[in-house]
Symmetry: C2
Subunit: 114 residues, 2 copies
């Protein structure tokens, strides 16, 4: 419903925010959660999600815990100590972004009816 190009830049922050909230999550779970929170309006693709998770891991923002669940491997992602401070900053930026977008979109369409 919401075109993917709108979501692009926010993907990293969304992932970090969810991990902060839920302690630890695996990839598939993250996509489900985002769909649930947005009534199916935002659907993350794995081709975008996994590279982001791997990159955040290589940057020391996340670390993983592998577990066996019903003969399937589940890779949980968790925030590192450093990751916790990164999330706080990212969420602040996202809030500023949301505010800025609202100011742009909410401006009245001219006072033509006044």
């Amino acid at each position: 419903m919401i075109p993917t190009d709108l979501i692009k830049g926010s993907l990293k922050t969304i992932v970090l925010k969810l991990l902060k909230e839920n302690g630890r999550m695996y990839g598939y779970e993250i996509t489900r959660k985002v769909e649930e929170l947005t009534d199916g309006k935002i659907k993350l693709t794995y081709g975008a999600l996994y590279p982001v998770l791997h990159k955040l891991e290589s940057e020391g923002v996340l670390f993983t815990e592998s577990e066996n669940f019903n003969n399937r491997i589940r890779i949980y992602y968790l925030l590192t100590t450093h990751g916790h401070s990164v999330v706080a900053e990212k969420i602040k930026e996202l809030n500023e972004f949301i505010e800025s977008l609202q100011r742009i979109v909410d401006t009245k369409p001219g006072l033509s009816y006044a």
Copy 2:
């Protein structure tokens, strides 16, 4: 202040919304207006803005009017008839996106304090 990667996907919609609002604008004016509306938090780069404007023109969403102002050429961009219906759709999508982001960011950080 707001990292550019957050803005990326919304650039097109922001430009279209401003053109709808102001009738016609030139590139430099668009960057000024966005800075003004967001207290300097969003700064568009020309390397991103002009390709977007040119693409929208080639798609028939915008058309241009060149004028001479103080010996400088100003290229005004305006919405075509088709462009007007595109903007309406884009703004709707952006509003849905903003709502979705808010739902993700506003969820309580666990009921750990309840």
